[in-house]
Symmetry: C2
Subunit: 548 residues, 2 copies
Amino acid sequence: MTSINPDNYKLSDKTANLTAHEIFPFSETAQPETREFLQKVIDILLDYVNACNDRNEKILDFHHPEEMKKLLDLEISENPAPLQQLIVDCATTLKYQVKTGHPHFFNQLSCGLDIVSMAGEWLTATANTNMFTYEIAPVFILMENVVLSKMRQIIGYDGGDSILAPGGSISNLYAFLAARHKMFPGYKEHGPRGLPGDLCMFTSDQCHYSVKSCSSVCGLGTENCVMVPSDESGKMIPSELERLILERKARGQIPFFVNATAGTTVLGAFDPLHEIADICQKYNCWFHVDAAWGGGLLLSKKYRNPRMSGIERSDSVTWNPHKLMGALLQCSSIHFKEDTQQDVTCQMKLPTVALTVKKENERERKLKNKIEIFFQGLLLSCNQMSAEYLFMTDKLYDIGYDTGDKVIQCGRHNDIFKLWLQWRAEGDAGFEARMDRLMELTAYEVKRIKEQSDKFYLIMEPECVNVSFWYIPRRLRGSPHTPAKVVELAKICPIIKARMMQSGTLMVGYQPDDRRPNFFRSIISSAAVTEKDVDFMLNEIDRLGQDL
Amino acid sequence: MTSINPDNYKLSDKTANLTAHEIFPFSETAQPETREFLQKVIDILLDYVNACNDRNEKILDFHHPEEMKKLLDLEISENPAPLQQLIVDCATTLKYQVKTGHPHFFNQLSCGLDIVSMAGEWLTATANTNMFTYEIAPVFILMENVVLSKMRQIIGYDGGDSILAPGGSISNLYAFLAARHKMFPGYKEHGPRGLPGDLCMFTSDQCHYSVKSCSSVCGLGTENCVMVPSDESGKMIPSELERLILERKARGQIPFFVNATAGTTVLGAFDPLHEIADICQKYNCWFHVDAAWGGGLLLSKKYRNPRMSGIERSDSVTWNPHKLMGALLQCSSIHFKEDTQQDVTCQMKLPTVALTVKKENERERKLKNKIEIFFQGLLLSCNQMSAEYLFMTDKLYDIGYDTGDKVIQCGRHNDIFKLWLQWRAEGDAGFEARMDRLMELTAYEVKRIKEQSDKFYLIMEPECVNVSFWYIPRRLRGSPHTPAKVVELAKICPIIKARMMQSGTLMVGYQPDDRRPNFFRSIISSAAVTEKDVDFMLNEIDRLGQDL
């Protein structure tokens, strides 16, 4: 047992009663006290890392929100809290936090606690910079170029452009915006006016909800986000896609964007990319692949195909390293086949147009035209607002390295360092082995479920690390698998989940889908998991549920 | 001198050659080696913290991108890098990083390196969770409630709702989306169809560019984002706002959203909120205040008014603690006057509708109606997509605490802990003193500029910590301040900036604006800055520029 005990972390008497305004950066001379405080925080974090890797530790100490409020002292008072109180606060917070890195946490697509990625995120915090310009993030901007270019090569793009975004939902939004801008360049300025019909987009009924959210955010309206039926295994049915495109066209609408999912959230299904690519080509639609979840398998020669065969034909790909690859949250990327910054390596400078005083519109237009002609890039042309206070053209260095005007954020968190460091640490071979290992463990889980078919019902053979199953309590064993029985099995899921959380021993998710009521979905995406943890999961569900 | 030397950080022979797959979480038994590796990273970070607080240190070691690529080894190879290489990589990265926390960094709105906030961000990384459900982020969700509710009280809202977003641009986007949904509830589903005219929005020509970006992202078209002229000091002219609203109405358009800026990016100007509120009331427009930059001054009794008098009349406010308040990037918040989750404290549970198998549309509609009726909330109603795998209604705990369906992200980074911990550390009194101190230092800078009026030209009296000025090199001293002279002064800015970066001694920004060519804009938002640093800034500019 290595549980975090807030009483265990004592600062020296001298430091304990100082306040934040008495250490760095307020006090120049407080180097020893600053270091002592930070080292004590690190002692807590290192103990927490141990706890996350200790199978005897609970995953969580569950309390309902109202109880939790009584256990914690969260209030902020008029006066500063001394440093010792902050140390206690840190320890208490981790005492009640859910250990998402614990080997018995199978609950979420993003889980695990990768040590190198974590070290990277610590450094990121300390570097505390913004990714919008080379001026203040030189090394990180270059790392972003190296890693994103590598990811595009892995996808199968020759050239292209990419950006890191705060999560897969925003990445999908970027794809949508780029598609709309590419196909309807006047939309940025004029909106839908002048178009002969409503734009519409297509995605499977198994897609991530952020795709539908795009249609709402971007003003299309969710009714213009067409949900294409999927088959039994959760894959989009291409003939249905074509039928629905034709149906919408017949109504006078303009199909322009198709989202295929490579690794659906619940079932882990892969849409048939080649067939969807053919349809996109035929009907002149932008072809986006949401591989936020499945993307990691691109790194595996064994598992990449046939799952993602055809991804190289897409126009854009979302791929979240914070999922299968185990990078810390947040780390999401969006990749485009089309070049944005063709001249990024060119040291040539723009004329210093910003030096002359003119009316805003005239200057802005002139500057924008110059930049657009210079770069002729999609992402920049789509999202740039040419803020002159940030993206001046008369800077010391080649402004082709500034990324800020390509994105819809201004401040942008540094999400690259942790990924770059982790990739250095793994090497391509290490990442491949990691992906293969997750799939092997998944196969082991499936095998164990099948071997215990009295207690567990496997819903389908998984293509990814999502395993969908029901637990069969003692009273229901041996009877035929009827719809009535399924209703009973479904009722059991939330009860077992509640017991898991209350006992603190295990976390596995459940949910209904379009074809069936509640079922368990376990996820193996943490590098901490081993065969014995898979066995523990199944045994523990059985222990918690056999009386139901 | 405390420069980071990558050769100084040696792991023991035993640990140095291990790879990432030989420590936690891959190897259960590698606790000592894991700890040694992490502690060595921390040694580097603690040295970097010292370097940031050492006035004898350079801020940066500038190299052009192509040179920098030669200095760094950024490539990722087939094989894993040993742990010692990763340690060298961390140190090298910081060696070439710009010290945004250095007392001589006056370059960006977000700068400084707050020690408590940094400690908070380290813990956040280690907790590595997602803010979408209470299930996996119980303590952090409760902290978010406490802090955001406090922030709304400070704004002057009674009740209301808030969310943390990845940066001010996305916060402004949330305000826009909520406004559109509130005023045109059918838009989410149907888009603009059926509306009698184009929607249009208003903001000053000094606003942050993300406001205009909203109009592009959300499909209005940038031509429907009307730029209202500002006066000499950078404040929106209310009579111009009214004139433009009437003009657009006369064209058959529908004005619905007005953005006022509380602290503009370049000049630090505050729009007249009461007068804008009156106009919004008169023409039934949503009144949003972008206080991303100026928001921190809400904490100061001395400086809050008159700058932000009237903010309590707004419908929504963007406020970035990662700016004046010194929280680490990213930490941005958006606040709404209207309640979202009226019943958040109610422990009542929804009926478990998700248990029955029905066709998707029917079930989805039913579930959505129930949730909407239950919560009757704006943010939820605006953004929810009711993903059943995540936001099930048959959970163990009160799902009113889950935030995931209120936001357009799915995965959401934990941005609250660092802010909560910092506010605990400061107390209300400490934060107020901090704000007052930044303003005092700004007044000191203005005084010193005026005392050296031969060398510096103050462009205007600042309202915030932005100070706008020109440096006057020797050859131009004493001559009248004519437009021709201004053109000369403007040409000097990029040259001095380039010299600053090359000497590595100072970072101050420059830019043109609508009324004038390039000028310097210094920012005092770092708690590290003292009067002697302000003097250093002015002296160093003089040293670098007097021969020009």
